[in-house]
Symmetry: C3
Subunit: 184 residues, 3 copies
């Protein structure tokens, strides 16, 4: 496992935001969530790209080459320009369908249209890629649901060690005493 | 978005029903559910086909060319002749895994064999295709679960506008005041 | 449907266990669960293989040729050597996504890292293949969840008839009076 600082890619996928017609709110919402939850050192690598398959795959390949985690926002719906899941699948060695299942399941408690999201997750090299919806309101809901499994996933693929503030979110590592429990 | 009347394909997939050995109950159950729930104008396009991959893909391609929604019934199980999900995947631009996940999840509350259903949904052009099981009992259960997301999905892909009777089922459109709530 | 005794393949996928560095606990846990739950005659076909795609596909093809059910344990995570789902998908005619969805869902109640499992199920010929995680603790949890649907699935694909002890687990066959209910 790497002892380097974790680099985390934050990729906003949006035609309008990338043309400057619309302020990106998804990327900053992800950065704010990570700042609140992580207690080990990390570095944000924010990027923005239009809803174009080649442009997204290009950014994902670059980010995955030196990040342990890449979180995308946007482009996961059923509209013709929504191609973030296709780009993710194109560049990953394997997919983790449990991420999409759980994120849709928790979003469904808020909005019936959660089933329209095609968001998924996968592995490329030593990097985990996770798709989030574009709506800022859904971002913390999804991250709260799946992040407990993310640090251990990154351990398994040889990425950087990530620690979370246990008062905010407990990262689960099987076989390791929970960091939320203090020594007697 | 089209201002035309919504055309809805209802495709019964069954060797026995298509040979006339068995009365189709799935197709009429779907038509009855839609008649009860929709309050905007729509036109049913009922079709019947055997459990043959080429025959199903042929009907799906034709129906998708002028329908905003195609609902299939039958052919989603594990038996060798069950190929409706394969036909759906073959003709769709993208798949929406959340539909199958939710339909299996609600069916599981009634029958443990719900996990054997491979039913899915996908988009072709301006048409959403949704697979339902063959058993009439499962049809309203599945439609009640996923239909709240369907009108907005069809909006996003440029199909006809569909309105539901809010006393029966509220179609959720993000950013739009719920039609079930009256103005103060 | 075959009147032969059901042959059930139990395939342990593990580099360490196959090299003898580690005692296989997954395979014996599956055999013990089946011994407790099945009340019709069956024969275990235990095998062990390293985490190698070709080795796993080879064992799966052989086991599927004369078993009605093959249960694998191990190799379903995100690590580079975890390739059991890929091997399963490579040899199956069709996949049954509901198995993975339900197993992840029940495991999630115990461990947040359940979403990292890529376990799935599929059909090859007259055989159902189901992936379980490697951890013995997860094995009965997953089998308890999905097994009620397995005997009927095997009926549908022409495999051997499997009966369960209804005091332990009721196998659901639609249209058949529950074996858990005694005649009045």
């Amino acid at each position: 496992m790497s002892s380097e600082i974790a680099r985390i890619g934050i990729l906003t996928v949006s035609d309008r935001a990338s043309r400057g017609e619309y302020e990106d709110r998804g990327g900053p919402a992800i950065a704010a969530w990570l700042t609140e939850v992580l207690c080990s050192d990390w570095k944000a690598c924010p990027r923005m790209v239009s809803d174009d398959l080649d442009a997204i795959t290009g950014e994902l390949v670059t980010l995955c080459s030196d990040c342990s985690l890449v979180i995308t926002t946007g482009g996961t719906g059923p509209a013709p320009r929504d191609v973030t899941p296709e780009a993710t699948e194109a560049i990953c060695r394997c997919m983790l369908p449990g991420f999409g299942e759980l994120m849709r399941s928790v979003s469904l408690a808020s909005v019936p249209t959660a089933i329209l999201s095609r968001q998924t997750a996968g592995i490329r090299g030593q990097c985990l890629v996770v798709n989030l919806p574009g709506k800022p309101a859904a971002i913390s809901q999804c991250l709260d649901a799946v992040f407990p499994a993310i640090p251990y996933c990154i351990d398994l693929i040889g990425g950087a060690r990530i620690e979370t503030n246990p008062d905010r979110l407990v990262a689960f590592r099987p076989g390791e005493r929970s960091t939320a429990v203090s020594e007697p």
